[in-house]
Symmetry: C2
Subunit: 139 residues, 2 copies
């Protein structure tokens, strides 16, 4: 088993990042940790810190024809994905592929905030979109 | 601001707990931490540990006419809720109510695994069902 470190963040799709930041501050005392607009991924992402636990990643689309824009059109606002940190993403993906797990990304790719990431198909995880991440400092 | 401690667990609705336990072991190295069948809530819950982070709470219904059974009929398997730990649930709920936040539970009630819990309406949290929990040891 390659090493896994549990939940790294949860991703929440929203229309209005500023409103969501304000609401999560009220609901659970979350504060902005870092944020980025990534045009090539069509997303405005804000990572919120809440206690010592995983981050809350708010995702708003930069346009309708983007992954998050299409998600919002189809599903509306809400939970988008759950990300788990692994020590060696490439080895972890190879192991899952050998076990027949349906992967969206067979290889690590560049994700938000300098992470290497890969998504697993929701059909392989009981309806949850699962992201595996390897933060930069472990790459 | 009453104290908040970040994400306590995520809740995932599934039909078959045993299959989900096996799959999460493969995907993210999760192991069973504790479990319970709670007839009055109509749920078979298994809490999985993954790394040092929040638990993954798998929720399967004990019958169709239960909260999780109705969720599965309407939405299918997938993310059910995100739970955040607070130090003083009653005070936290009072503050949210004073701010006009739409609550499902205006008062703490008995949840799974001996926790005091209350749910916030998804409309108040951008489509996410948010649970606030106060574990027994802080009650």
């Amino acid at each position: 088993m390659t090493g896994t470190r549990g939940i790294h963040h949860i991703g929440v799709a929203v229309h209005d990042v500023a409103a969501a930041v304000e609401r999560y501050a009220l609901l659970v005392g979350a504060t902005v940790d870092h944020e980025a607009v990534v045009d090539e991924q069509g997303v405005h992402a804000v990572a919120l810190r809440a206690g010592d636990g995983p981050l809350i990643e708010l995702l708003a689309p930069t346009g309708d024809d983007t992954p998050v824009g299409r998600f919002l059109a189809k599903r509306g606002e809400g939970m988008h994905h759950v990300a788990y940190e692994v020590d060696d993403l490439r080895a972890h993906l190879e192991r899952l592929r050998a076990e027949g797990v349906e992967l969206i990304d067979a290889e690590p790719r560049n994700g938000l905030f300098g992470m290497q990431v890969a998504f697993i198909h929701p059909e392989a995880a009981f309806g949850c979109l699962v992201e595996l991440v390897q933060p930069k400092e472990h790459a």
